[in-house]
């Protein structure tokens, strides 16, 4: 611990001595619309990043947080232009740079880890080639490590780095010989048996060609007991520099990609989202920039993957001494990762300060709302209130209704549900859902939680009878839905309604809002023209939207408004059950909070039952009575929300809970 404080102090001193790495002052960015008007995307924003520091910019979509970061890189999209203020990198003004000048600082001084791993790698080039481009573009020396001054100053190693040669990378050609020499050295000093195997295993895992340097090899050998001189002799003899291929693989290994030498020859479409993001991190850090701009680097990934990647990125940037400008919409995540938070709202910085300070004593009304709405923080708050032995129900939006969980009748029962899909090009069957059983009680909410690919949406589709199960049954009010045909099916459809993830895709863009909401009424031949119009008005009122919305079209509405429309449409037929498939995942925290409130109110008023599919445990805490955790198509845990959150039985559930951003924060209770 004291060592850590030592480093922190040292870091503080260094930061103060060197001044900010990136200093943005009164930045103004304008976009020009088609009719020539200027839209002020960023107004008078100021923030600084010191060497080695993580600074988070937090805000909702459209707040100007990404725009500010892209302005620093000179990569503003479309008509974007810096019209005022200054951006200083290491004291040099760069805001007026021409693109040619930016080329010199990009990659080498400032790296980027972009938001969406799916679209940020060129599909036609191999992963390794795309890493290589970064190295080649900046004339990187691939046989020697480039360490920032800060990292050098902080390196608390027992060995002082004497010369440039000590930073030489290990090459894959010499690796077998090095291992052999290490083996002999160990034998020479009398290490044998288990200890020998363990040490060699350690060497094999640590000595990654293109990533491990000479002094670290020597250091490892010395720590294993080899004499200083012998260790340095071996290191100097066998660690003689790596090739381009070694370095590429080394970078990918550093970013957490296993089996990197093979992976480097693959194409992006052969990678999962998490793997692509690791490749992008390798690219961003390839030229050892002093500043890494991470633009929502994990928002497209599953929570557990997100945690792994961020942990890795943090270790990596710490060891390299890289400063990170971290852009996120999740305040909990920001507070967990960054030392300093900058809150942006409508193009302006409304608040900035040390992370905990901002979280515990938010000053600006917007920050206060953000703190109140962030699901990760909300669930954290419930836990910390309960840990202090107080009644958490007052701060919970949704109270678990234990009584009705016990006494209410079952409305949906899923038993031994299995669904198989045929794998392409083989005869194998893939079990997307494997023997899943649960019950949804009337008037309660059951949440199915799991990562992408866990089979949770497949379950939802089978409950909606949009997909036939391979085996097992779904019953609605006691009758098997597989038997429903014609009139009874229509009746079932009327009572079980879906709300889908993407509010942009689930509304027909050619239909007016009125027509979208009225359609289910028309299909089920309910009422006449006049009474249907009245019902649409009533529904809009229910979801707290003005009547004037009726005549508009989906593209004129925001994401949150569209999701309200989708809910209104689902409510039109007075259903008993609403299946929400990731219904709030695509929304900003504040909007998400509003929609969750709405769903809660509707349940209280109309006695609705929800089947709530989500990957976000934080949201579950706020809305669900019962939780089902799924992994690889199987049900791994099932219990009430409190049981699952307070006493998780399975390791997987614990991992999921751990992965909720902000989970490790000490919030304190002064959060009113």
């Amino acid at each position: 611990m004291s060592e850590q404080t030592n480093i922190d102090d040292k870091l503080d001193q260094l930061q103060r001595a060197e001044g900010p790495l990136l200093e943005v002052k009164d930045l103004q960015v304008d976009f020009t619309t088609d009719d020539g008007r200027a839209v002020h995307a960023v107004r008078d924003s100021s923030f600084s990043v010191y060497p080695g520091q993580w600074v988070a910019i937090v805000g909702e979509s459209g707040s100007g947080k990404s725009t500010s970061a892209m302005a620093c890189l000179g990569l503003l999209p479309g008509t974007g232009k810096v019209v005022g203020g200054s951006i200083k990198l290491n004291g040099t003004e760069i805001s007026h740079y021409a693109q040619k000048e930016f080329v010199n600082v990009r990659g080498s001084k400032m790296g980027l880890v972009p938001q969406d791993p799916m679209s940020n790698l060129n599909p036609v080039w191999r992963i390794g080639t795309q890493v290589k481009e970064a190295l080649v573009a900046n004339n990187m020396d691939v046989s020697h490590e480039k360490r920032s001054d800060l990292a050098k100053a902080l390196a608390n190693a027992d060995i002082e780095i004497k010369s440039e040669g000590d930073e030489t990378f290990l090459g894959s050609k010499e690796l077998p010989e090095l291992l052999e020499a290490a083996e002999q050295a160990l034998v020479g000093i009398g290490v044998e048996g288990d200890a020998f195997t363990r040490k060699m295993e350690y060497f094999r895992s640590e000595w990654v060609p293109g990533s491990e340097t000479r002094w670290r090899v020597a250091d490892d050998l010395i720590k294993a007991g080899v004499k200083d001189d012998d260790a340095w002799y071996i290191a100097k003899k066998y660690v003689t520099g790596s090739s381009m291929e070694d370095r590429i693989a080394g970078l990918l290994v550093e970013a957490g990609l296993p089996d990197a030498a093979t992976r480097a020859r693959q194409y992006p479409h052969e990678f999962s989202g998490g793997m692509r993001q690791r490749a992008l991190i390798a690219i961003g850090l390839a030229c050892r920039p002093e500043l890494l701009i991470a633009d929502e680097p994990t928002s497209a990934l599953d929570v557990t993957v997100q945690k792994k990647i961020l942990d890795h990125l943090q270790d990596l940037t710490d060891s390299l001494g890289t400063a990170v400008l971290f852009i996120t919409h999740d305040l909990g995540l920001a507070a967990e990762r960054a030392q300093h938070i900058v809150v942006m709202y409508k193009g302006q910085v409304v608040e900035s300060g040390p992370s905990l300070e901002v979280l515990q004593h938010p000053q600006h009304p917007y920050t206060k709302r953000l703190v109140a709405a962030a699901p990760s923080l909300a669930s954290q708050r419930i836990v910390s209130v309960e840990e202090h032995g107080q009644d958490a129900s007052s701060i919970m939006e949704h109270k678990v209704n234990e009584q009705s969980l016990e006494t209410a009748d079952t409305i949906i029962e899923v038993s031994h549900l299995t669904r198989e899909f045929k794998l392409p090009r083989t005869k194998d069957m893939f079990k997307a859902v494997d023997d899943v059983s649960f019950k949804v009680k009337r008037g309660t909410t059951l949440a199915i939680v799991g990562e992408s690919g866990s089979g949770k949406s497949t379950v939802a589709n089978m409950v909606l009878k949009l997909l036939e199960p391979t085996s097992g049954t779904v019953t609605y009010n006691g009758s098997d839905i597989a038997q429903f045909k014609g009139k009874s099916l229509l009746d079932f459809r009327r009572h079980v309604q879906p709300v889908f993830q993407n509010p942009y895709g689930s509304l027909d863009p050619m239909y007016s809002i009125f027509r979208s909401i009225e359609e289910p009424l028309r299909i089920h031949k309910i009422g006449d023209k006049k009474s249907r119009a009245a019902r649409v008005r009533e529904l809009l009122d229910l979801v707290e939207l003005p009547e004037s919305v009726m005549r508009r079209y989906p593209n004129e509405l925001s994401g949150g408004q569209r999701q309200r429309i989708a809910i209104a449409r689902a409510m039109a037929l007075n259903p008993d059950v609403i299946v929400c498939d990731e219904a709030v995942s695509a929304l900003d925290v504040l909007v998400q909070d509003q929609v969750l409130h709405l769903l809660n109110d509707l349940q209280a008023k109309n006695g609705l039952s929800y089947l709530f599919i989500t990957h976000d445990l934080a949201v579950v805490r706020q809305i669900a009575d019962d939780v089902v955790v799924m992994q690889h198509g199987k049900l791994v845990e099932h219990g009430t929300t409190d049981e699952v959150f307070l006493h998780p039985q399975q390791q997987y559930t614990r991992d999921l809970l751990d992965a909720i951003p902000g989970g490790k924060l000490e919030l304190g209770l002064n959060l009113d």
Binding site: K100, V103, L112, N120, V124, W125, G284
Partner: protein, 308 residues
Amino acid sequence: MGKYLLRRILQMIPVVLGTTLLVYALVFALPGDPVKAMFGDKPVNEAVAAQIRAEYNLDKPFIVQYFLFLKNALTLNFGETFAGQPVIAEIGRAFPVTIKLALMAFCFEAIFGCVFGVISGLKKGKWYDSVILIVSLLLISVPTFVTGFVGQYFLGVKWRILPVTAGANPGFFDLLMPAMVLGSVSMAYIIRLARSEVSSNIALDYVRTARAKGMSNTSVTFRHILRNSMIPVVTYLGQDLGALMGGAMITEQIFNIHGIGFLTYQSILKGEANMVVSVVTLLTLVFVVCNLLVDMLYAALDPRIRYA
């Protein structure tokens, strides 16, 4: 890959059979009697006519004629024209001319189409983008024979830069103007295709990522924007090569080029079923092979596409 190739080659059989049958039926259904036409203004000698009909199997029912043709075609005997020339020899004379013309047109449209399209796409909104757009629109909307006559008038008659017509055994310069006229419409399409591809790719995320790596504008443009934009362009070009090989009836007529298009047109007028069907069979094969090549090329260009 091998399996896929074999399947594609087997698929060609029904395609070729189907087209030959269809074309044979169409020529058979043409009004007028080819044998009577051979007599011209002279009175028809029924005995001679019957003899000719028997010789060319014209007295047999349609389906029998078709199978006789197929049987001969399998032994590479495509029969003779009414004038007594072997069909294969006529095609052998015409096809090299068409190949020459098609390749020239192809190079013309590929080079100019890509260059103008890419410039236009990279510099969207500049004045030369507008000029290129307007010219390409003009070329698409004006029929080939108009472009042909305009070319003949200015380049051939008024300024005397290029020969007006090609004639028999045309050389490079004889075919230059026809090739440009023939390729002009496709060139215009390629300009538009390349322009829209480039201008939409330029704003893609991976292009921004490439810039963020510190790559120079030139290498970003070549490695990320152009490389990806060329995939659909190459696909279009490949298919167009098949179409160009089919000979250009109108262009060959205008410039008096004795290629496949010219030959086909003359044969249709004379009702020479053997000749027409033979040419069409050949062209179907060329077209199907070109299509297969395009699909192979597509897989080579885009690693996401793998055939199995």
